[in-house]
Symmetry: C2
Subunit: 251 residues, 2 copies
């Protein structure tokens, strides 16, 4: 029996999602919760790894039960496991999937959201949940970010927008969506792609913010992409604004 | 020199807003922050007291400087005091007001917001920030709440919707607004009045939720108000969903 479900967590008090000895990780918490529920160690697999401080609204995971384990109907699973999870982790929307399903290899794409809080003073409700960026971004800056975003859309080699030294077979990705929206004092970036390189969303956001600030012009974006040179793109935006929002699978 | 400004705080880690010895309170934190900034104890006065766990998005306070204290321009004050405040408290929108201005007595009304998270499973992002209420509230339940809200609007004796034993000169208040909105899995209550009795918003929300659940009918509301009997109204909703959102002053 194998379940697919969605995962939420507030990343603030985790040392990232991937299991490591003697630190608190999302994977470690999930392993323990499903073991407590089913009375046996299960195979828990996540759609991706996130860094310390990064959040998830709609990550995915699969739980495979060892043969002979008494299953729970999928629709009951999120409620059943809830008492075994800490308050900063939750699961929802469980379904049964074939044993051949792979939560990472079968993913067709992902959507990340990045929140930036743009105000001269901090807002306690966004502490650790958005990037506090006090320098004003006006309507013109927002338009420049949207123009730069247009240059990033499509299929490109994104090596310039990847943390240096990350081993990967290819750095070509297809960016299907990159929306920049202002909602009061929040600026919301929605980024959808068939896959993401290490730190890619945070470097995209950091680059767009430097475009808003006038340190990079929107017209430079194609050159920066073509250069494959990380030093030409903008800074890496901090982790606390980043949310893994959705993972797409074909039906 | 007297300043009026708006105040935000996440109430989770405070023993309420009013100062008490040897516990952490919002008032205590503000007293210390302004003393650190101006180098002298200032007279810090808040618009109202809130209970442990209750939040504020737009409370108000005044800070009166002792004669001879070097003032700071009002527009600079929120930024200047920020380094002296903990991450769960912030101020914004400061203006200079006459010495005769009183932040509590001159208030014409207030708006509270109450958030209820209505889903079978907890959402970590609303932990301590909304009432987790797993029993489904459907469209019909929402309509019943709106109907009941209509009966609460206007000028009434709200004694039935006040925590018992609260000393107060009169229990008559005018409810100018009571909106019930669904935003996905959140139900948002917006409550505006010329003044509020102790626990009044939480008892209004608790009563409306019992209306949604069918334990109280909307038509009973006028009788409950007329009875002035706290035991006839609904439960007191928990503090973590409550936000003091705005305080109104005449210009």
């Amino acid at each position: 029996m194998k379940y697919l479900m969605c995962l939420r967590y507030v990343g603030t008090n985790f040392c990232g999602s991937q299991i490591q000895p003697s630190v608190r990780t999302v994977q470690g918490v999930l392993n323990d919760a499903f073991e407590a529920l089913f009375g046996v160690r299960c195979m828990v697999t996540s759609c991706s790894r996130t860094d310390s401080g990064v959040h998830a609204n709609g990550a995915t995971l699969t739980v495979a039960l060892p043969d002979g384990t008494l299953p729970i109907p999928p629709e009951r699973l999120p409620i059943a496991v809830m008492p075994h999870l800490p308050p900063d982790v939750g699961v929802y929307g469980a379904t049964a999937v074939p044993d051949s399903f792979h939560v990472r290899h079968d993913a067709q794409g992902k959507e990340y959201v990045y929140l930036l809080y743009n105000s001269p003073v901090r807002n306690p409700f966004y502490e650790n949940r958005a990037w506090f960026y006090p320098r004003p971004i006006d309507g013109e800056g927002l338009e420049r970010m949207k123009e730069a975003a247009g240059h990033l859309l499509g299929t490109h080699d994104f090596a310039a927008l990847m943390a240096q030294g990350s081993p990967v077979a290819t750095t070509v990705r297809t960016l299907q969506g990159l929306r920049v929206l202002r909602e009061g004092e929040l600026i919301r970036f929605e980024v959808e792609a068939d896959g993401f390189l290490y730190n890619m969303v945070r470097i995209i956001v950091g680059t767009l913010v430097e475009v808003a600030a006038g340190r990079i012009s929107p017209e430079e974006i194609p050159d920066i992409l073509a250069s494959c040179d990380r030093t030409r793109a903008g800074m890496t935006a901090p982790p606390e604004g980043l949310y893994l929002n959705r993972v797409f699978y074909t039906k």
